[in-house]
Each structure stands twice: as C-alpha cells, then as structure tokens.
Symmetry: C2
Subunit: 450 residues, 2 copies
C-alpha cells in the first residue's frame, strides 16, 4: 500500500521551486496554534500540503497532533509522507534550511513510515526523517522484531517465529517498555537456551544502543568494538527506530576505510573499481589536491630565491636540499600517520594536545640525533666538516620541526571539526619543505658565516 | 583433563635443544614401516616421545595409526599433544623445518585436541597443528555445533539446545556428511522458521568455507564480503575444523587495517594505544624506515653533485628543485595509494600489469600538462621564458615518471610476494626524487644549452 510517486492533487508545479520562505511562514503560523486547531487546519489541506505541513511540526507536537487525527487521516498522512511529491519539496530546500526546519520524527511514526518499503523506496524517504547526512538513521533497517519486557521467553519465541520472516535479523532482539523505549536487549541464543516460562525482562542485558543522529562510522565502530551481531538504533528519547546489523556495519567501515586511505594519499576516493574508471576520472580525483600542493610548494621557490646569495656563494648547499626536505617530509608523514590513526581510534583527544606535542618533539629530536650521528662521518668525507656540521644540525632541527608539524596539523584539524585524514601526509610534507629550507639556510649562515 | 605443563618422563632436558636432525631421522624411519608396526613402536615410547613421533606422521597415515591405537593410548596421546613438553620440542625447531615436517593434523584429531581448552591453552597448542603463521587455522574457534545432513530440523534444534551453551555461535551451523565433511550450512534462523519434520539437508545452503591454511585477512574478508555471521573452517579435504565468527573477523580486519595504515606512513605498527608508549618506542617504530629512506635519498646528493657545473652556471635551477621533486612525490603517492588499495581489494591483479601501467602513464601525462599549463605564465613572469619552459617540460616528465613508478612498484611488490603496503608512499617519493632530478637537469641542458 505504498504510493511511490503519488500524483494526487498538489499545490505545486512539476519542477519544485525552493519553498524555503513559504515553509518558514507556515512553521511560524503553526507555532501560535494549539494541537486541536492544527489538526483542523491539516484536515482542510490537500494531501501533499498536509504532509509537508505536518513534517514542519516540532517532534513533541507532531506526536500529539498525529494521535489527535482521525485514523483514516493518519493513514493518508503516512502514505503521503512516503510519496515522492512531499519528499521533493524538502529535497529542493537548502540543506541548512532543511536541517533547522526538520526535527526528527517521533519513533512511532518513523516505524509506520518505513515499514514494508523496499530499500529504494526507503532511500527516497530518508530525506524526510530529519537525520543528518552520513548519520546512521539513514543506514539503519526499520525491520526489527522487538519484544515487550513483560513477555515470557515462550511468548517471545512465538513472536520471533511469527514476525521473523521479514526482519533483517532475529538474533538480536531489542526489549522495549512503554512507548517503544528500549530497556534491554536479548539474543535469540539466550531465549533459545532459557526455559519458556521465564520473563524476558529477567534475562535481557543492559542495552548498548546508538542514536539515529550518530555518525554512521561511529555507530559501526560500536558494533565492531563490542563484537555485536546488531545494535538497536533509537531516537533522542531512546525509543526504538530500527537496527544496524553487523554486515551493514562492516560495509560502512570498509567504505570509510577506503575513503580514508585515498585521502591519506591526497586523492579523492574513486568509489568504483579501479579498472572501471578511465584516466580522466583518475585525473579528476587527483588534480585538485595536486594543484593545491603545487601552489603551496611555490613557497619553497620564494624561500630559495630569498637565499640566492648564499646558494651562489656555496653551491654545495644545493646538494643537500632534496635529502633534507625529503627526510623532513618522511618524519612528518610518520608522525601524521600515527596521530591521525590515534585520533581516529579515540586513543588521543584534542585535550591531550600538549602531551602529544612534546612527545612528538622529543621523538623528533631522538630521530634527528640518530640520523645526524649515523650520517655525519660519511657527509664529512664527502663535503668537509663545516658543511657536514650544517647538515647534521639541520637534520636534527628538521626532524623536530617535522614531527611537531606532523602531529600539530591533524590535532588542529580535529579541533576545527575537519577530518584529520584529509590533512594528508603530502600536505604536511609540503609545509615542512618550506619551513625546513628556512631552517637550513639560517643554520648555514650561522655556521659557515655567509 | 589437560596437562598444561606435563612433567612426565621425557628424554629431553629442560631447555629444549633443536631436535631437527633427530626428528628428521625418526620421520625417515617411520616412512619405511607399516601402520601396525608404527603403532607398536609408539606403544613402547614414553609420553612426550610418543606425541612428538606421532606428530611427525603424514596426515593420512596419522589418522590410520591413531585409529589403530588402543583407546587409553589414544586418550593419553591427545592429552600429551596438548601438553607444553611436546609443544616445546617443535617450537624450538627452525620454522622452515617445522613447516616441512608438520603436515596439518586430521580433522577428527584437531577437534579432540582443541575441545575444552581455554583460549590460552589453545594458543599454546596451535603451534602443533601445522598451520602457517597468520593463517586462520590459528584464529578459528573449534567450539562449533555441527548438524548431520540427515537430521530433521527438530533434531537439529534439539542438538543446538543441548550443545549450544559451549559453542562460539549457534547462528551458523555447518551441515556435515561422512567423516565431518562439510556439505552445507544452515542458519539458526532458517531452522527456527522451518517445520520440525523437514530434513536439514533440504534447507541447507551451499557452504561458503575457508581453509585452515588460508591467510587470516583473506578469511576475514570472506566473512565481510558475504555479509556472514560466521564461516566454517575446513581442512584440505573440506572436513570441519572450526568456525570463524564475524566479531573475530572484524577484529582481524581492524588489526590489519591499523598495520597497513602504519606501513603506508613508513612506520612499524605500534600495536598499543599511542599514549601508552614512550618516545623511545616511537623512535624504534620509525627509525628503521627513516634510515633506509635517508640512505636512498643520498642518491639525490650524488645526482646534484654530478650536475654541479650546471647549477653553478644557472643558480635559478636550484630554486625549483623542491617544487619539482615535491610534485613528483605527491603524484607518485597518489598513484601508489590508489594501486595499493586496488590490489588489496582484488580490483586489479598482477596480470593487469600493462593496462594499469599505461593508464597511470596517461593519467600522469594529463596531470603534468594541467599543472604545466596552469603554472607556466606565473613561472615565466618570475624567471623568464626559457627557465619557465624547462620547469613546464620537467613537470610533465616528472608526473609521468611518478605515476608510472608509483603504480609499478606496488605491482612488482605483489608479484614478488611482498605486501604492497610495505612499499610505502615515502619510499616511492624518494625513488622519484632522484630520477626526477636527473630528468630535470637533462631537460635544462637541452633547453638552456648548458
């Protein structure tokens, strides 16, 4: 009984314009009315208007208004909320507008709205639910068998047998109390190995849950880190909305992992198998970052230009430029990789800032001293002691600089709300290149007296 | 009934020496005897000798010999195979020796050997099983409920109820025929929603299985890619050995992902939370690769030294060194990241070598031409047309070089059996640095006539 593309009477044209201001006005208008009056006004609207107007109500009022409607009107409203016409009105909105106007729907209505839809129909509808992009509310499955807390194990098993055919999983069963509120979770295994007359509430365990607004990657990590088969998805009041199963969680993590790996190498994720995309698509995925990095690298030209006299006087200085900045880039990549990972795993937070910074600085110093010690003698044999001293001192300074920058930038990115993986290793190398060169020439001027 | 550190009479000292040659001699000796004689000889040995001698038998003979032994001797043998004393003899062996001497144990004996052991005891025993390091045979759980193919659904459910308490999972049930051979898989869900009198063989699906010798990461991917809750682990004859559950699969993938991420940044995986390790541990994880990279980077010093006259004549050449090699490094990292990922995901194989190589070369050419076009005019204003032409031509050449090398090296690594992730982006940058410099100076000599 779904209307995938309900034609119905509607007050809007075929190509939906941006209804932002109209909808805002309607929302303000409703804010001044009581529940009963809103119900009456909804009754006078056509189907599409009614659905979009209803969708504008704040969550708590929406539930009251819905319950106050006549049952046929309730059915019509749910049907229309699933339809393409209503969805289009909101999809055409500015995303920020959409986020401020649409609170999440009450759990009971979400359940009715999503039940029995195909995956495609569901995808169409998720824009109306009010969950942000990349939130788990958009990836969860609404087909979940829930067990009332006061049922017996026997009743619960009968319920699973009756409803299990359509459910995504029957191995993890949310136990709900008043108003779909999740009070526990019980596994089919537990039910299956427990005598029939025990009360489900007595064998259920404390629920681990995720919120529909949670980021999909965080939710998937909850499944992985707890070794779960599925996790219930709830709204802000812990009412059951759906379930996230481990296979979907693994798929989400694999996808996020692929994106992070691509970003670390300063390319956009392809999102498709390598051989299925042509060179132009590869160029498109890479050229943006490459241009940014080249622009940043012009700094190195300026730095070298500034020190042209020194270069002119001691040409040997040029010999070590690639080695020194390469080493800086590598030490910076190492630090950045470690810190991005530790941030991603939640091993460090932005409040650990100073601790991490000093730890990386001392690591950089130790690495620099090691490299300088190992390399000093060969360098001296090759270019003489004064120049070797310049290189050795610079290596220590550049390693400290690189590990500091390599740890600092991802932490600042996280603090600013940017995914640290985007601040890729190549970006850090480029920053270290320019600053490392300055250090190099200042050290050279000091030691060689040029 | 386990003997974790069986003292028992044994013919070897406390610190086990390498018994390689002795054991080889014993293996050769057994090869000439028939089953019955071997059984008799085993009967005359002490416990530890008997267990190690038995472990040396080839798989097919081991099963026959075992079945020919008296039941008390069978029990004593299984008990001793679990014991520390026997394990130590084989652990002390050279790993290559161990791999050639120990075939995998017959499935029936593996099941007896592992059943009822704690995880710690099991870890101790896995060295004796004959599965290679990092194989799934060492990570699987032997506690699995299997269903005979000719059982009814009712009998199967009763069996799950009776044996399920100790099993790792009861949601995926391998269906076995003659001699533990896996002929299908049935989910508890399927059993639960099917009438009791149906034969299990009729509702089981074609089994997806992994071999105990399979790499643990590959096996975990099978679970993820098929959206499974668990996968049966079988021996070379498809006999049931154990099961890999999705939580363990996710743990394996997370661990491998962490290791790959670390290697991509040219550091060794820490294996522990970041804040729990000190700077010395961080240095230890990084200094090895950094030293290798510095050693490789000395090539750049040699290249520049070789072209010192050109540098002397046109100091402006030095200005673009960091920019050009940096761009090469970035383009190489992009290509390497994409190819390592595509190899890891099985999107490309080493046989796609030429296709990938030419695709990356054309991508590099397109990227280079884009960068050269965008950058030519600003460069010309800064250093004049001849020098700008040198830079533009070099950028194109370096981009082609970088994408070729960046795709080539991971493919060669895979072909040579090395994990492509180990051939980290910094390594590729360093290779491109030196060759890119040569290209740069050759182009400069040609265009500027120096």
């Amino acid at each position: 009984m779904t209307t995938p593309a309900a034609p119905g009477p509607q007050g809007y044209g075929d190509t939906p314009p941006d209804h932002g201001s109209e909808l805002h006005a309607l929302q303000d208008h409703f804010a001044e009315l009581d529940i009963v009056t809103i119900g009456e006004e909804l009754g006078r609207m056509d189907r599409v208007e009614r659905a979009s107007a209803f969708r504008l109500l704040p969550k708590d009022r929406a539930l009251d208004v819905f319950e106050d409607l006549d049952v046929p009107l309730q059915h019509e409203l749910i049907e229309e909320l699933r339809g393409a016409a209503t969805a289009e009105i909101f999809i055409a909105l500015d995303p920020d507008d959409r986020a401020t106007m649409l609170e999440e729907l009450p759990a009971g209505i979400v359940a009715q709205l999503l039940s029995g839809l195909s995956r495609h129909e569901r995808d169409m509808t998720t824009d109306l639910l009010g969950y942000p992009a990349r939130s788990i509310g958009r990836r969860m499955t609404p087909e979940v068998v829930h067990i009332p807390a006061n049922a017996t194990v026997g009743q619960a098993l009968a319920r699973v047998r009756a409803q299990g055919h359509d459910a995504e999983t029957i191995y993890v069963l949310p136990v709900v109390g008043e108003g779909r509120k999740v009070v526990g979770v019980v596994s089919l295994r537990r039910l299956f190995l427990t005598p029939d007359d025990v009360r489900v509430g007595d064998v259920a365990s404390e629920p681990v849950m995720v919120m529909a607004r949670d980021d999909q990657e965080d939710a998937a990590r909850v499944v992985r880190d707890n070794g779960m088969i599925a996790v219930p998805v709830v709204d802000d009041e812990e009412r059951l909305l759906g379930i996230l199963t481990v296979d979907d969680a693994m798929r989400i993590l694999a996808q996020e992992e692929a994106e992070d790996a691509a970003r670390t190498g300063a390319t956009a994720p392809l999102g498709r198998p390598y051989l299925s995309v042509g060179p132009f698509a590869l160029v498109k995925a890479r050229v943006g970052w490459l241009l940014i990095l080249v622009a940043a690298a012009t700094l190195t030209v300026n730095v070298l230009n500034h020190f042209e006299d020194a270069l002119d006087e001691v040409v040997a200085l040029a010999l070590f430029v690639p080695l020194l900045i390469g080493t800086g880039g590598n030490a910076g990549s190492q630090a950045a990789t470690t810190i991005v990972r530790a941030l991603g795993m939640g091993e460090i937070r932005t409040s650990d800032f100073l601790r991490v910074f000093f730890r990386e600085m001392s690591t950089g110093a130790l690495l620099g001293v090691t490299l300088a010690t190992v390399g000093l003698l060969p360098a001296a044999l090759f270019v003489g002691w004064p120049m070797a001293a310049v290189v050795a001192v610079t290596v220590v300074a550049i390693c400290i600089l690189a590990t500091s920058v390599g740890s600092l930038i991802p932490m600042v990115a996280r603090w600013a709300g940017v995914d640290p993986a985007v601040v890729s290793a190549p970006f850090i190398s480029t920053v270290v290149d320019a600053t490392g060169l300055i250090v190099y020439f200042l050290v050279a001027q000091a030691i060689l007296g040029i």
